[in-house]
Structures are given as structure tokens and as C-alpha cells.
Symmetry: C2
Subunit: 342 residues, 2 copies
Amino acid sequence: MKQVRRVLILGEGFSHDRHSGKTMRGIIRYGPDSVVAILDSARAGEAHDGIPIVGHVEDALRFEPTVAVVGVATQGGRFPQAWRELLKRCVKSGLDVESGLHEFISEDPELVLLAEKHGVELRDLRKPPQGLTVPTGANLEVDAKIVLTVGSDCAIGKKTVVVELDLEARRRGLESVFVPTGQTGIAIAGWGIAVDAVVSDFLAGAAEQLVVEGARRGGRLLLVEGQGSLVHPMYSGVTLGLIHGSVPHALVLCHRAGSTEIEGCPGHPIPPLTELVELHERIALPRRRAKVACIALNTADFERDVDARAEIDGVAAETGLPTDDPVRFGAGYLLDAVLARL
Amino acid sequence: MKQVRRVLILGEGFSHDRHSGKTMRGIIRYGPDSVVAILDSARAGEAHDGIPIVGHVEDALRFEPTVAVVGVATQGGRFPQAWRELLKRCVKSGLDVESGLHEFISEDPELVLLAEKHGVELRDLRKPPQGLTVPTGANLEVDAKIVLTVGSDCAIGKKTVVVELDLEARRRGLESVFVPTGQTGIAIAGWGIAVDAVVSDFLAGAAEQLVVEGARRGGRLLLVEGQGSLVHPMYSGVTLGLIHGSVPHALVLCHRAGSTEIEGCPGHPIPPLTELVELHERIALPRRRAKVACIALNTADFERDVDARAEIDGVAAETGLPTDDPVRFGAGYLLDAVLARL
């Protein structure tokens, strides 16, 4: 996965949706590959970040893609029915197909036969490696400082924040490694384990493997992609397994400015940030008590910088913690705050 | 699985071990089947609870078993190498085989072929059902009171406590249902999902399905088997997913009297019980804030009742909560405490 590929992103019906389209945007913004086209029939003829949007696989072929990447992350990770036809058309057009959903394309008999016939590869980014097990304690012996993002909800930028912190750390010459724990992170970095797809008993074990591997890759500062939220009624188990298995020295708490309820879960409030900070510090195991080093505030809903800055100042005052939006204003201030806690 | 079967329990190398042998003891104590023999070559000729222990599958045949049940729960859920030969011998002797490990016997090509040849069945109690997904919110609409056991460690009696509470509740004429969430519970009740074996993203969804199913089976009081511990470095993710997905109205906190460290995890202390109570109450989602109703204290390490009673009194004084050992002294007192909180 190291050489530059020419990617067609399959965003059918989702390229406009913040939550489901986050895989697409992550790959475009941080991936090593050249994204040559996006498929979304409802937006055919438009462009996204300068990338042409097409309505059919056939229309994409003039941009000479080599691989089609499923650019959506559906709740529950299943393929919408209409997608089957789409994937088959990609295969028939000679494209490799890469997916990060829970439903594995490489285990679909019809697609597998078709892929063999057309000489293309089907890859599942979320497929766990063989031989996972429970943690061995090797996580606590990793010779690196470990930083994990946590958050008040899903899809608010936990991956983006660690990627930005990692880029900034490497700019400063630090031996930093981004540790991917989900399908988009894996698509960006070319390695990793989607911890939400492993057997529950092996969640912490998978997280342990990831920090061990991050150190093996030369990281003295490991920036681990967080998942879900401790207060999310669907995904909190993944969040806690990742917290306990990756044994962070410091946490970065991510929050979308102005959010007061878990997205898609009416009646499930987000607690005040001060409570969230305390909850995360309480849930750490005694062997390594991670503190929240700073708050990464996603201010994308605020158009003007001055309003974004006011939100940031408000959260800083409320929590007493260094706060910034690393995507909007750069990751330097938050990296300083993280390094000060290690 | 409803008719009474004649069970040979495979306990090779483990029948003496408290942790790994808990499946065996659960089946013997609470299962609907007749256990006719236990296989453990190191203890051949002895007896366990009046059940003969044999050294070879062939020696067990005179007790006319119909099914061999893997009676161990290994860490990581893999089969010790020597077991392969043992399982093959069971199949060749015409026994169905039932297993609760993560390594599925029904997916082992060699065993499957052999089972077909000998006309026997291979069943995996821990194999998740098809079509699991994230919670839908149906858990919060279940028309029943939900009680979940939580604990300071694994293998301290979380399943036993709910089974005892369920037996006592039904004795009193309450419409109570035991909701199994692990392999031994499933072997006892004949239904359930081993939540530690599902894909992590679907943990809470599986727990939701279980409470919905418990109510469908007529339960107005659902006694849900807890898993792991919030303070266990290996299994905490499973614990939290189960807490948030089963949406309990009340919790029963289980603890092994005198334990101060997570078993098998040196350097991982068990926090004081008052802290554990507070942590469990803090981690509940705002939509349903479960309180700890009482403490179930496992006093198996204390030989004399008077010493057990002193331990119980000590914990009651320390926590201010009703405390008892329901296995030793009956489940009536704790059931009263639970019902008073619903």
C-alpha cells in the first residue's frame, strides 16, 4: 500500500453527509494516494475540494483510477443494498476495491468469483488480523510516551486531531508515529487494526498490539486515534477497551463546539466538559493514571474565526485546560500542552 | 437443548482450577443436564461432587454420555494443543461436542469432516448470531425491571449471583428471567449471546437484543449476567458495553472477600469498594442512572460461617449497602435489597 495509487472514492448517497462521509474526507485530506474522482450520482458534475464528482463508474474511468475505495462509514457497517451493483461494476472495470465496513467484501462469494475473473483485489481494511488475544502486559513496557484522543461523541475529529498533532510533532523533528485504530486511519497510514471490528474479548489486546507496533516503527511519541466515546450508548465499550489497552500517558479530549447531545441518539445528553474530563481521569487504571492534557475543540460550525476563538476561550475558561482547534488554528499550541504533561 | 442430556465434562488439566474450571462448576450446579462423568487424567479415579472423574474418553463411555462439553474457559479462549486429540476421540466415540471457547470447533475443517463421518454435532456456545448491529433504543423500551451484576474482577461469581437471585425470585412467584451473556450461562439456560465474542462495535447491540429477548420470554424482572470488570485491564470494554447496552435499573456489585488485586494481573490493584460503587454509578448514561443496590460478597475463601459473616458485616459497614453471600446464606436478603431499589 506504499506506492501512490489513483483512487476513485465511492461516496454514493453519502458524500454530502458529515458523519458517513468522514472516511472520504479523511482519505482526501491526509491519505498518501492521489484521489482522482468521487462517485455520487446525486452530485454528478459538481466537485469536492477540486476533485470531480461523477455519476457512474464508467464516467470515472477517464480519470484512470486503479482502486475504488468505499468512502462511507454506515452505522452498523453494512452495505446499503444498491451498493452491491456498484461494487460489481468497479470489479468489472478492472479496479481493485478497498472497504472499511464490517461486512467483508473479501468474504462475499459472488464478489470474490468476479474479482478472480477480472484479476483485481478485494481488501477489507476492517478485517482483524489472525491470532489476536488478550493483553500480555507488553503495553506497559513500551518505551514511548502514549497520547490518546477521547471525545464527547463520534465523528467529531478524534482521528484528525492525532493526525494533526503527529504532523506538527514530526515537523519539529520528534520521533512521532500516528497509531491508526479505525478504517480511515488505516487507509491513511497503511497499517493498523480497526479495534471496533475485533472480537470484544480481544479489544484491549488489539490496542496493546498497536502501541507495541507503533514503538517498533520507531515512535517515541505515539499518537493513538481514539474511537467512540465513554458516553456514547452504542460504542462506549470500544472506547474503554481502547483506553485500557493502549495505556496512554495523556489524553486529548475532543469536542464539537456547541454540541449538547450525542448525534443520532436523541435524549442522550453530552455531560458538561468538566464532568467528561473527570470521568476520563477516573476510568484510567491505577497502573497508569492518564490526565487530560488539553481540549481539542472542533469549531467547524462557526464560520468566522472570531466566533471560533470565542468558543475556544469559553471552553478554556470553563475547564481550566489549554484549548484550541488544531485544524483551524494549527496544532502547535495543543502539542505544547501535550508535551508539557508527558 | 431442552431435553435432559447425559453430559461428559471435559476438564482435562483444569478441573481443579477455580478460574478455568468455572464453566464446569456452573454446568454441574445449575445446568438442566445430567452430568455423568468428568474427564481429567490427572485426577482419574477421584470424584467431584459425587461425579466420577475418568482419565480417558473410552473410560467415560460406560456412563453412557451423549454429549461432551468443554468445561474449561481458557484465557484468550484458545484450545490447548493436547485438546485436539481429545475432541477427536469424543467425536469418534459418537458424542456430540459443545464448546464455549473463542476458537470455534464448528469451523475446524478436520473436526467438521470427522463429525460428519460419525454423525455427531459440533456446537459453539460462544458463536454470535448472524445480523448483530448497534442498539436501536429498543433496550430503553423494554417493559421490565433490569438488574445487572458487575464486579471487582472476573470469575468471582457474577453469573452465580444472578442465577441465585433468579431462583429465589421465581420461588417467590415473580416473573423473573435469567439473561445469559456468556458461554456457561448459555449452557445453563439454553439461550443467550456470549457478548465477549461479538464484534466490538455490536457489543451494546447484543446486550440490547438480550434484554429484549428476556422480556419476550416473559420476564418482568430481568437478571442479567455481568461480564469482566470496569477495572480489569483485559476485559473492561466488554463490561462497559454490557452496562450501556443492557440499560440496568439497578446493579449488584460482586466482590471476592479479601481480594485486593486483579487475579492474574500483578500490579493491578482492585480499588476500595466505595470507589467501585461510585465508579459504576458515575459511568451509567444519564438516560438511566443505575444505582448499586447491594453487594454480593463471595466468601468461599473463609471456611467458617462466623468468619464469612464477619467479612460481610465489615463490607456492609464500609459501603453502607446491604451485603451478603447469596451462595452461602441464600439470596433472599439481596433480592429484597434489589427489589427495594426498583
